[in-house]
């Protein structure tokens, strides 16, 4: 395999956990709820996966229990932000801090234990002879799932009536309410599903990427995913490319070291955030006379009686 393919493979495998997390974040934010709990939910997803898999040795059971566990965490965030109308930033940070601490606590018994897992791979060996595309010849099943998920979510968000309701709920909940859409139910549903996707990010990280539980193993990837939501402009397809771009940066840095290009690794570490700022500035400038693409009631709890 040539250099481009190798980097592409590294970027895809490195970006997949980010992709799950950012898709979850997009669902949250499209419904008008900021979820800064990504990092904590990812950690909880990872630790649950480790514990359950070591007990059951069954990938599907592990995945389902992980979805349930992180769904509950999402439910807490939803309850706080939607029903109790708490400050979403504070609640999200609390979820992250809570998840970090709780995952370290319940993970003590499995810390460091190797997880004997093998993720099924999708063998497309006929691609091997085609340059660039041969990167896709032997990827694992969750990578394909995440790619399909971003396409499905794209169609869901932009091509179905439910998706349009979602947009309305995030932009102008009182209008949706007047239309007869239950804003509360919509928000609850998307926050919980989004949290499950964030949990899947942790699941992928520990099952496919680094198969043993280590305290704080996400080491900031949840925050990169939050930056990525904005970078991708709430669009699942852009998120796909953004995740691979951010995922590839790490491995690109090491390859630069091998070829002795003296770019400090600290510089590479800040690229995700810098590029997010640049994209924000660029979009902001381009659309300065147009309404913003951000969900308009993002961060605002919905009061039926209240007029803004």
């Amino acid at each position: 395999m040539d250099m481009v393919t190798l980097i592409l493979v590294a970027a895809i495998t490195g970006g997949t956990s980010l992709l799950f997390a950012v898709l979850g974040g997009i669902l949250n934010e499209k419904a008008g709820v900021i979820n800064l709990g990504t990092e904590g939910i990812m950690l909880i997803g990872a630790v649950i996966s480790a514990i359950v898999f070591l007990q059951t040795q069954n990938l599907i059971i592990t995945f389902i229990i992980m979805l349930f566990g992180t769904g509950v965490l999402g439910l807490i965030h939803a309850f706080l932000c939607i029903t109790l109308r708490a400050n979403q930033i504070v609640s999200g940070l609390a979820v992250t801090l809570f998840g970090t601490g709780l995952s370290a606590y319940i993970g003590k018994s499995v810390a460091g234990a190797p997880i004997p897992v093998s993720i099924p791979k999708v063998d497309l060996s006929f691609l091997n002879s085609i340059p660039v595309l041969n990167a896709f010849a032997n990827l694992d099943i969750f990578i394909w799932m995440s790619m399909m998920l971003s396409i499905i979510l794209y169609f869901y968000m932009y091509k179905t009536s439910w998706g349009l309701h979602l947009k309305a709920v995030g932009d102008n909940p009182s209008t949706s309410d007047a239309m007869g859409v239950s804003v509360i139910a919509f928000r609850y549903f998307h926050v919980v599903i989004g949290s499950m996707l964030m949990g899947s990010a942790g699941f992928y990280l520990i099952m496919a990427y680094s198969p043993n539980w280590i305290e704080g193993m996400t080491s900031g990837r949840g925050w990169i995913a939050i930056a990525l939501i904005i970078f991708a402009r709430w669009n699942p397809i852009y998120a796909l490319f953004g995740a691979y771009f951010f995922g590839g940066l790490d491995s690109l840095g090491f390859r630069m070291q091998i070829y002795d290009l003296n770019i400090p690794s600290y510089f590479l570490k800040m690229i995700p955030y810098i590029s997010t700022i640049v994209v924000l500035m660029f979009i902001g400038w381009k659309n300065r006379s147009k309404p913003s693409i951000e969900p308009k009631s993002l961060g605002n709890p919905y009061f039926r009686e209240q007029r803004f």
Binding site: L97, G101, A111, G112, Y209, N212, S219, I258, D260
Partner: protein, 382 residues
Amino acid sequence: MKKLLITSMFLVMILMLGACSQASNEATEEEDTVETSAPTETAEESETDTEEKVPRVAFVYIGVPADGGWTMTHDEGRKIVDETFGITSTTVENVPEGPDAERVIEELAQNHDIVFTTSYGYMDPTINVAKKYPDVVFMHATGYKTAENVGTYQTKGYEPGYLSGLAAGSLTENGKIGYVGAFPTPEVIYTINAFTLAAQSVNPDAEVSVVWSNTWFDPTVERQAAVSLLDQGVDVLANYQDSPAGIQAAAERGVWGMGNDADMGEYAPETYVTNPTINWGDYYVEMVQNWMDGTWESGAYLGGFQEGMANIAPFGKNVPQEVQDLVNAKKQEFENGTFDVFTGPIYDNKGELRVQDGEIMPVEDILTMDWLVKGVNGSVPE
């Protein structure tokens, strides 16, 4: 409605309080440990007051004892101390290097006699606190600053590094060896250099490609670093970090893997070679005993095979017998003190002669090494 609002705000406040205490919990986990273990210590003290004074010992860790690496080795040493003296040492986990470390060390200094600070970055905090508490003994691992009541200790990491290099040089078929370095500190650099010299002693064409992960412990980044070397076609991969991510990545491709600090064989049973290990326990016991006898003195201690501080982990099951014999023979030489790793001529990888023919590099120079030997592909970042 108003009532509901007030109730909900009250609930949120409670939850936020919960969140805050959770937040501070994380940062101050150490304090809990201090509090919980303090009573037992005082109890022990009063019991044995009439006999010998039992030392109150504390350890400051950069990670968690279950990290499978650096902190685990220190915690094993701590357990030996506890068993030997029948005490319960205080441990503080996950202490970030910086202002937090100083606060934690100071807190420990107030009610302990000996404080072991077990990471390079605790150097200045340890020295600062030691000035304020002249009656407390501080032992700082891997640093280079000592004081009246601050001693340092470290292993000769280059000795076991040399042995793993011997194994790597014998096992490689294409002469391409990878090394994922942690931070470019002297400790890591001299280990990589020793590793390379050893590999070349059995395989003159062997080259060691180095990338720096700039992490001690970040499995995902370390995996990326390992994969970038594996993509280059290395057939032996060594890692300096505390996580087994690199060994696991190598195992997936059937490439020989070695780690650092602790036995990591269980992570890659088929392709595991060996790696340097550290035994702090005997040294810790000696230091505590010295303190009890009143003979403790500050100093910079460096322990290798001869002192029993450095060792290598048991070989993986697939390592050929002749490689094991070769390594064990050299290990014997280290134990007898008849072999020095950095014996000239040694060139750096820019072609400059660093150690004259027949000369043995002085220990002070080894401990401040900032250049890579010939045969290393890579450079020390500025």
